[in-house]
């Protein structure tokens, strides 16, 4: 009974240690990850829901396909992956440590035949002398050897960068470190979003699931602006932010420029430029109307959509306005408004009037020239808000990974043995990686080796 139980545990243990499992997991992760790149993730849009059958929708939802990277089975795969990594390391690391700390000092007959790199040197002097001379040689040309006497022969063992055998385990550890960082981030961090109208401040933001989260300080948006390239493509989205504690600006956090790719961080919370738009409340537009035959312009201040009435009964209203017209009318820049003008008893006419191009405005309309003098409308800046205390752990893991991969791939554990017997000495060499490069080094060493006179 006991033995079968033992062997069952052994089987499970071996399963979790096995590289076959690793391959299976890597390939499964690769294949399943594809699902989430094909199916939409997160909140589904109604169009998509309407486009697939109910049965499919239900099955996919049950399987977590619409949030697959957080589904139980994907997380489970990642756990098994970690477990595989841990078990495999527990099983192998002690061997590797032993291999490093307790190297093969004495080469048996059988082992000697397995080397592809070997060289023989004949000498007539006493064995002791050979041992001393060759120890000195190895120490000078390669690395100081450990000398062991065995059956009347001397075994000289020298090695270099034995510790690089641990590189692989640094890589594996680094993966776990990245996971730990990600877990810390998901437990102790948050992400959210906030809109701030120019000239106003906020002290909280909207979390992912809609609840309002307090910041613990105030953020004031002094100004938001957009710049464009001559082609009309956006060049810069810029918010000027000030952090307030107890209503007072915090030194160093006053009038901070925040653009895409240049966020602002305060007390571990980072604000990223993300979107913008017109503030809806209380905006008014300034319109001037000049008679074509000359005379003083009449000035109006109207809210968007509200009707303005001229002395002669003509009415107009601002349908929409923008502070930068370039994206809608390439070749023009600055503020502009689309207005609808209704002359008494006539059909409404709509056209665009610019702030910077009075000559263009003058080409429109009949005997009244409409002009746009801008607005007191404000814009809001949309900021992404994030706090992730785990991110440094993730970067630590990444650094470990890069270092570990470098060690594992590009460094090699080089070993050289010299067996000194009566009348001759034989040198053997072996490297854990990049045999070709070591072969050249070994041949170089061999050349000097054969020139030694004992």
């Amino acid at each position: 009974m006991a033995t079968t139980e033992r062997s069952f545990i052994d089987t499970v243990w071996d399963f979790f240690c096995s590289l076959k499992l690793t391959l299976g997991l890597l390939i499964s992760l690769a294949l399943t990850s594809i699902i989430g790149t094909i199916l939409p993730q997160g909140a589904l849009n109604p169009q998509y829901v309407a486009s697939i059958s109910q049965a499919k929708l239900q099955i996919y939802t049950k399987l977590g396909f619409f949030d697959m990277y957080h589904s139980w089975w994907f997380i489970a795969l990642l756990y098994v992956f970690s477990l595989n990594l841990v078990c495999c390391s527990i099983k192998r690391l002690p061997h590797v440590f032993k291999f490093i700390s307790d190297p093969t000092l004495v080469l048996g007959e059988g082992q000697r035949n397995s080397f592809s790199l070997k060289k023989e040197l004949a000498f007539s002097g006493p064995v002791e002398k050979g041992k001393e001379r060759l120890s000195e040689f190895l120490g000078k040309e390669f690395s100081a050897p450990v000398v062991t006497e065995h059956n009347g022969e001397y075994h000289l063992f020298a090695q270099k960068t034995a510790w690089c055998r641990l590189g692989v385990y640094v890589v594996h550890l680094s993966i776990l470190v990245v996971f730990i960082g990600a877990i810390i981030g998901s437990l102790a961090g948050y992400k959210g979003y906030v809109n701030i109208v120019e000239g106003t401040s906020v002290n909280s933001f909207d979390g992912r699931n809609g609840q309002r989260i307090p910041l613990g300080f105030d953020v004031l948006c002094e100004k938001f602006s957009v710049e464009f390239y001559p082609t009309g493509a956006p060049k810069e989205f810029k918010s000027i932010l000030t952090v307030l504690e107890n209503g007072k600006p915090v030194p160093g956090y006053s009038q901070v420029k925040v653009i895409v790719n240049e966020p602002m961080s305060y007390k571990g919370i980072t604000f990223y430029q993300s979107s913008y738009g017109p503030a809806s409340e209380g905006s008014e537009h300034f319109i001037s109307v000049t008679p074509r035959k000359g005379g003083a312009p009449e000035k109006f201040t109207v809210a968007e959509g509200a009707l303005g009435t001229l002395k002669d009964g003509t009415t107009f209203r601002v349908l929409e306005a923008t502070q930068e017209v370039r994206q809608f009318a390439p070749g023009f820049s600055g503020p502009a408004a689309r207005i609808e003008v209704t002359r008494k008893g006539a059909k409404p006419q709509t056209y665009i009037v610019f702030k910077n191009y009075p000559e263009v405005n003058a080409q429109r309309g009949d005997d009244l020239i409409f002009g746009y003098d801008g607005t007191n409308a404000k814009q809001f800046t949309g900021l992404q808000v994030a706090k992730d205390p785990g991110v440094w752990v993730v970067w630590l893991g990444c650094a470990l990974m890069v270092i570990g991969i470098f060690i594992a791939f590009f460094m090699s554990h080089k070993r050289v043995w010299v067996v000194v017997s009566k009348g001759h000495a034989r040198m053997y060499g072996n490297a854990s990686k990049n045999q070709a490069a070591f072969q050249m080094q070994f041949e170089d060493l061999s050349e000097k080796f054969t020139e030694i006179k004992i």
């Binding site: 590289l19 076959k20 690793t22 391959l23 890597l26 390939i27 992760l29 690769a30 990850s33 594809i34 989430g36 790149t37 094909i38 993730q41 990277y69 990600a182 992400k191 390239y229 082609t231 493509a233 956006p234 060049k235 810069e236 989205f237 653009i259 895409v260 790719n261 966020p263 980072t270 990223y272 430029q273 993300s274 992404q384 808000v385 994030a386 992730d388 991110v391 993730v394 970067w395 990444c398 990974m401 890069v402 991969i405 470098f406 791939f409």
Partner: protein
């Protein structure tokens, strides 16, 4: 002289190099191999100048940025890195015939870029205005190029095993004798991936660092990110496969081909078929 003229010369040169390499394959004439290599080097030199010139031209236009900001520029850079790696392997390992299986990738890239794409220099949109763009693109594409080379070598491996496995007729045997031995191909495949894998890892990390810096999230399971991770998994599987018996040789070669197919999908397929943060400016 403009960069776009030089890019046309580059494309044409790679075409000649590819043709000469195919002739080398067919004729087994050593000097043809040499010519193929030299033509490829010439193309590489021209392309290097062209990339530098395009960089300068962007500054002359007042929208200065490294020429790696859109699909066109990235394909050009991809071709450049492929030929660069081929040159390295040619000089280091002296297996010139690999050119016949690697140069076509570079030619395909350049031809598509020059003939099928808008080649104009565009200003950078705000999202791309960051030094991270440079680090991210360079590491990713060097990695991709190494995988392209590994794929070419794996195809040679698969052809050679197929030819030697079934029959050893004189012609097949003759042609196959030009290929490096299977062991060497297997080893070169591994070496190319040993260059590509760390670079891809760096590419993913710099991408994550950039995303975190610009958006506050280092990983958001965006399709491009996910696909790069898929590619990473495939090559991690390849590396581990070598340690397990039964997964070397042919299966490893297949993994390398699949890995490159995934790489290409990650690079192009995601942009063409899926949507996400990385769709290059239209």
């Amino acid at each position: 002289m403009t960069s776009s003229m030089l890019f046309n010369v580059t494309t044409f040169t790679y075409l000649i190099s590819t043709v000469v390499f195919f002739a080398f394959l067919a004729s087994k004439n050593k000097s043809l191999g040499l010519v193929g290599s030299y033509v490829a080097y010439f193309g590489l030199a021209v392309q290097t100048v062209a990339v530098g010139l395009r960089w300068k031209e962007s500054y002359d236009m007042g929208v200065g940025h490294a020429p790696m900001s859109n699909l066109y520029e990235s394909i050009v850079f991809f071709s450049w890195t492929i030929v660069l790696l081929f040159a390295y392997i040619d000089l280091r390992y002296k297996y010139r015939i690999i050119g016949a299986f690697v140069l076509p990738f570079a030619l395909l890239g350049m031809a598509w870029a020059q003939l099928g794409m808008n080649t104009g220099i565009e200003p950078l949109v705000p999202a791309l205005q960051s030094n991270w763009l440079l680090y991210h693109v360079i590491t990713c594409f060097l990695g991709y190029a190494a995988f392209a080379v590994a794929c070419g070598i794996s195809i040679m491996y698969l052809i050679k095993t197929a030819a030697e496995g079934t029959d050893s007729s004189a012609t097949a045997g003759g042609l196959m004798s030009m290929f490096p031995p299977l062991k060497v191909l297997d080893d070169l495949n591994y070496r190319a991936i040993m260059i590509g894998f760390p670079l891809l890892t760096l590419g993913i990390i710099t991408g994550a660092a950039w995303a975190n810096y610009a958006w506050g999230t280092y990983w958001s399971w965006d399709p491009k990110e996910t696909w790069s991770l898929i590619v990473w998994f495939v090559y991690a599987a390849f590396l581990h496969a070598r340690i397990t018996k039964g997964w070397v040789g042919k299966r490893a070669a297949w993994l390398s081909v699949i890995g490159f197919a995934a790489t290409i999908f990650c690079y192009l397929g995601v942009n063409l078929f899926l949507s996400g943060l990385h769709s290059y400016g239209k």
